[in-house]
């Protein structure tokens, strides 16, 4: 038998029969094919663009955009700004809805997850029904539904609902509220707040050291709150309250002054948040259930109070299970925010990947940029969550 196999005279056949070399050969072939396909796609793009007389270039980013954007809370943007700036406005709008969405989804998700574990039958069932209903309907439908609800159910702007003292108004053009106006001297309050936050950090470190050494526990949370609000408040009063409010008022067609939360943002933010929150709720529930009951019993046997049990024993262990799937929920929310286009919220898909694409005819370039931007945002979220995951993982000594 042995004789027979080594008799395979052809060296190629022998290479093929050797498991190790066969692996190498297959990998080389796969990589060659992969590059061939990529080259083929590239070649096809070049030929097709040439047939359409189009050239591949990014210079359009420096041209004036010539269109207006209705929602640009962070950047001064006019129709004379460049396509690059329009893209930046879109990017900031995407980040705004992604970050606020992740925060709200987490709060709502953790709450729902804990309610799902409640021993109260009614609370438990309500949370269960909410989660199952919301997460089994596509998120685009949620966005459109919320948007229609807002613009059809809320009163028109001329009959805006006054929510109190002519300061807060609700209409189908948005939720209007006073905006703060900083007067001279406001910088002192800002500095006081920064000092307060820094001293809270120092205090916490000190309190932890004391606890490690002596076992004495300070009410860290309440003292922190006291420092931040107390110090800032004292300086605020001492500086002669350098803050006034710009109150919205109906003038002509619309409210002028104040701040407004537009229905487009509100619909997108709400729908993305509660949709994602339902998935987070299940993750949280799974994470808490995965901490064995013996742990709770053991810590109670040590004499820990209920909230200390949660804070010191259950949650740290549950977090280890929760964080990895939670990161993918954050990624999903961020990517789903591109559905903004359905209701006219001006995110990066709507500005760079929408109007700029259309007005310049640079489909390839804009789409490559938009994809790159989403990839970058996703990688940042991934990176942060991985760092956080490493930080809280079981430290073995």
């Amino acid at each position: 038998m042995k004789d027979n196999s080594s008799q395979a005279s052809n060296p190629l056949t022998r290479l093929w029969r050797n498991q190790e070399s066969r692996g190498v050969i297959i990998q080389i072939i796969t990589i060659t094919l992969l590059f061939a396909i990529i080259a083929l796609i590239g070649r096809n793009v070049v030929i097709n663009l040439a047939a359409l007389d189009k050239e591949f270039s990014f210079t359009f980013l420096t041209w004036p955009a010539a269109y207006d954007i209705g929602f640009s809370p962070f950047l001064e943007y006019t129709s004379q700004s460049t396509h690059l700036k329009a893209a930046a406005v879109g990017l900031l709008n995407t980040l705004l809805v992604a970050i606020t969405g992740c925060i709200f989804a987490s709060i709502l998700g953790f709450t729902l997850g804990i309610l799902r574990l409640s021993k109260n039958w009614l609370v438990n069932r309500i949370a269960y029904t909410f989660v199952e209903f919301m997460r089994n309907v596509p998120v685009l439908i949620h966005i459109l539904a919320i948007y229609s609800l807002i613009i059809t159910l809320m009163p028109p702007v001329k009959k805006a609902l006054d929510l109190g003292g002519g300061q807060f108004f609700i209409s189908n053009r948005g939720f209007y509220m006073p905006s703060p106006v900083f007067e001279p001297g406001a910088w002192m309050v800002g500095v006081a707040m920064i000092v307060a936050i820094l001293s809270v950090f120092l205090f916490r470190r000190w309190a932890k050291k004391v606890q490690d050494n002596t076992g004495k526990i300070y009410p860290v949370f309440w003292i922190s709150i006291g420092i931040i609000f107390g110090l800032t408040g004292i300086v605020f009063i001492a500086a002669g309250m350098p803050l006034s409010w710009d109150v919205p008022a109906l003038k002509g067609f619309n409210f002028k002054g104040g701040m407004a939360i537009k229905p487009e943002f509100l619909a997108l933010w709400l729908a993305l948040s509660y949709y994602t929150a339902c998935f987070i709720a299940e993750i949280v529930r799974a994470g808490i259930l995965a901490v064995s009951h013996g742990q709770t019993e053991a810590s109670k046997a040590l004499g820990l109070r209920n909230n200390r049990v949660l804070q010191l024993v259950v949650i740290p262990q549950a977090l280890r299970i929760i964080i990895p799937p939670l990161s993918s929920q954050y990624l999903n929310l961020t990517k789903n925010s591109s559905l903004a286009i359905a209701i006219g919220y001006m995110d990066i898909t709507a500005t760079l990947g929408g109007i700029s694409l259309m007005q310049t005819g640079k489909e390839m370039e804009t789409m490559i940029l938009v994809m790159g931007v989403y990839l970058l945002i996703s990688l940042c979220i991934s990176g942060y969550m991985n760092w956080f995951n490493r930080r809280i993982k079981l430290t073995e000594r």
Binding site: L33, L52, Y67, D68, T152, N254, K256, I355, M358
Partner: protein
């Protein structure tokens, strides 16, 4: 064995890639397929909208049908490739449609930058504003601070910005994707003003539950010559689309209608005889059959008939010919001669 399949597969892929790169020969493609694919809007009453039976009807659709009559001899062999303002050129350039008949404004950027071929104007339009009557607005100059609904990816979006900037006024743009969404937002009061081409306003107004409660303001703030477009790189196909449009205009000029076209075949007027293919070989020079224009008029009608059937004064849209009358009647329609 496995290796062999992979090699065959990649060879097939290679062949596929090479063939899809081919562009020219739209006429052969359409005739081979037996169906003309037109890029149309997602629905604008009177211009392009499916009727109760799901058949696409309207002014732009009729020009698509005219093209099909000329190319395939049957006006019904069309397929509507619906597109929003934003996706239309991508769909045309990617080859999903053969020709675009979709109230599209001819502009420098679209011609030169987006790389389209335009073939003349089938509707002279201009951008206007519609508001509720009870707002008491009589002029567009009173719109400072208003919320304005616009369709994204259109020239209207750019004109609007220019107009408000020039006049030192501010506005809140509410961008929407389709005409229907725009109507919903306008109806619910999300915006005070709906702006688009005057023809589109007439169409949108006719579809509102109470058209008389809304008024189109007198200002027309732009020139919007609407016309068909095709891709670069196929001159024969471009010629065909150009002359389909010209044939409908010339037919009206010469008094040829779908009613009298059979009798007109024996007309004494040599231009009528050339147009209808009785004399000469103009159809064959285009790569079509000689009765191409006869088929257009017989099956769809001349320009005047297309206009009156879909958007004229006797339709819900009630648009007067205005700029879209023949040059001999004080309008702008003027076709080069069939000679």
């Amino acid at each position: 064995m496995k290796l062999k399949t992979t090699v065959t597969l990649s060879a097939a892929l290679l062949a596929l890639g090479v063939t899809s790169a081919a562009q020219a020969g739209t006429l052969e493609d359409v005739q081979g397929r037996g169906v003309l694919r037109c890029v149309t809007s997602t629905g604008i009453a009177g211009f392009a909208q499916p009727d109760a039976n799901g058949v696409w009807r309207g002014f732009d659709v009729d020009f698509c049908r005219a093209t099909a009559a000329a190319v395939l001899g049957d006006a019904n062999k069309i397929e509507a490739v619906t597109s929003t303002g934003k996706t239309r050129f991508t769909k045309l350039n990617a080859g999903e449609g053969d020709v675009l008949w979709r109230n599209t404004t001819i502009t420098f950027t679209r011609d030169v930058g987006v790389k389209l071929r335009f073939h003349g104007v089938n509707y002279y339009d201009g951008q206007g504003f519609m508001v509720r009557k009870d707002l008491g607005v009589n002029s567009a100059m009173e719109l400072d601070g208003a919320s304005v609904c616009i369709q994204t990816g259109t020239t209207t979006e750019l004109n609007l910005s220019d107009y408000f900037n020039t006049n030192g006024m501010k506005y809140e743009p509410v961008t929407i994707e389709t005409n229907d969404e725009g109507r919903q937002n306008y109806e619910s009061g999300r915006c005070d003003v709906y702006t688009t081409d005057a023809s589109g306003l007439a169409s949108t107004r006719s579809a509102l539950p109470d058209p008389d409660a809304h008024v189109v303001l007198p200002e027309i703030i732009s020139k919007e010559p609407l016309g068909p477009a095709t891709r670069h790189g196929d001159d024969q196909w471009s010629d065909i689309v150009t002359w389909v449009l010209n044939a409908t205009i010339t037919a009206e000029e010469l008094g040829v209608t779908s009613q009298n076209v059979d009798a007109m075949k024996d007309s004494k007027n040599p231009e009528v005889r050339r147009l209808l293919g009785t004399d000469g070989s103009q159809g064959e020079e285009l790569g079509l059959s000689n009765d191409w224009a006869y088929q257009i008029i017989k099956q769809v009608g001349n320009y005047g008939e297309i206009f009156e059937n879909n958007i004229g004064v006797n339709t819900p849209l009630g648009i007067a010919r205005g700029l879209n009358a023949l040059w001999t009647n004080g309008g702008l329609l003027y076709s080069p001669p069939f000679r």
